[in-house]
Amino acid sequence: MRLKSFFRFLILLTLFLFSSHIFAYPTYIRLNYSSCLACHQSAEGGGSLSAYGKGIAYTESYLSREYTATKENSFLNFEGKMEHSLEARVMVLERLYDYSGNKTRIFPMQLDYTNSIKWKKDLRQEITFAVAPNTARQKGVDSDTAKQSSWINRLYLRTFKLDYSIDKNNHLVFGGSNLPMGLHLIDHTAYVRERNRLGVSDVPIQVQYLRLNKQWQQTYLLFAPNPSDNIANRESGFATKQEFFLMPNLVLGPQTLLAFGKSINRGLLGAFTKWGAGPWAIMSELDFTKREIKNSKMKFDQWSSLIEAHYFIQEYFRTSLGVQFLKVDSPFSEKEELYTFNNEFKFSPHVSFIVEYRQKSTDLLLEKTLFGQIFLNWW
């Protein structure tokens, strides 16, 4: 038992010492970077960082320094053709309301390994293996009572895609990953993500076509079910996402989606904004979803929204306030409000800490929760 604990400690220590970039979406907005290609190798964002993205990760931390693409990135990289990254997240959760289960929990939230291979100058492959808690993949399962199976059984293929750059303005992507809809939020429980099937394990097979230039970015995609999806959840459809760079510091992104499932059809119409100026980054999203239960032909609406204002006291220290709303019509009536106060400290290019206070209210409940998260990354 002691040996097991020691190994756990050793793994965490290794991650702590060798981990690298942290989630930087508000920084990207603050700096008015309107294209994911600024910092990521994929035009649709996420996954492996570009050399410039690594440079930004290095400069935006308390222990900042200039990054040079040297041998520190040479582990099995076959002269720059292959890259690896490992991302881990440990969460401490304290429930501040009357709750019969564990009031305080510490658990590994995320462990992702990403492998990126540049087959040719214009052809890149990316694969991400992830370990997620059972509760993250099974809706309605109580996180305190769910028995966590072995990590091997919780390992799944989160991303597998081929990215072909027709030229610097046109990209084709084929594979399985989250649909590239809305804001790129790390919080998979955000209403605009979770309630629009953008959870950690929602990885349909898709073909994406991305066009981008100095004024806008457009994404058109077709998607089909992932063979590993539960049969009842399988859906196919198409979606569009536009991002117009209205002013140097303002992006407006309308989006549409139509999905046809085994039991439910849904249509989504939404828009998001990103505004960055000086130390501020403000983002918002509003989505309207209409669902139809196929058997009964019953239709119902859902509204989900989010607004977050981030203020960078220092480049490495960010504080933010957020508000989220959810409204679902009958027969699944729900009305929820969520208020968040979040602080992020980027200690080093390798490690960052987030402390977040959340207050969620429904018609029946008022839940107050305190989160602490440690992000560890290595590449």
Binding site: I56, K168, L212
Partner: protein
Amino acid sequence: MRNVLITLFLIFSPVLFSKEILYSGDVSFRAETNVPGLTIEGSSKIFKKLSADFSDDLLTLKKIEVELDAQTLKTGIDLRDQHMFEKVFLVLSAKEKPALLKMNLDKATCEKTASILIKCNGEANFLFGKKAFSKKIELNFDKNQNTDVSFNISLKELAIEIPSYLGIELEDSVVIKMKVFKK
């Protein structure tokens, strides 16, 4: 006593009959890069000098003077600002500190229009460190005598080596914008 009054009058007469207006405001730059959607931007609100000298009837713009210390330009990333100052501006000013960016406009033709106070066209002389160049600019002073100015400069014209970092390279043309407000 009369001599004292005459002396004081002579000392202050240029001030009494001058319409030099002091401004505050901000200057910003925006440069596209080789990656669509990735622009590098910076700004400063700290001017060493920012003034406009008008004739009494506000119809002639005699002179505009703008002076900015390059070190006050901020892009939102401290290390990048340090780089920009040391590897671009200090080089331009031949290692002289501070690296001053100066703009002078001493000849402009102005006219009153229906919608704005005056519209002036002239050729501005710029001095970035030891590199000088001229640029035609248009200034529209609104009824509060505030103005916005926007123009492009070429890095090559200024003999600036195109800055690049980890695969990101600036394009040659940089947009300069100034928003100024009467103090």
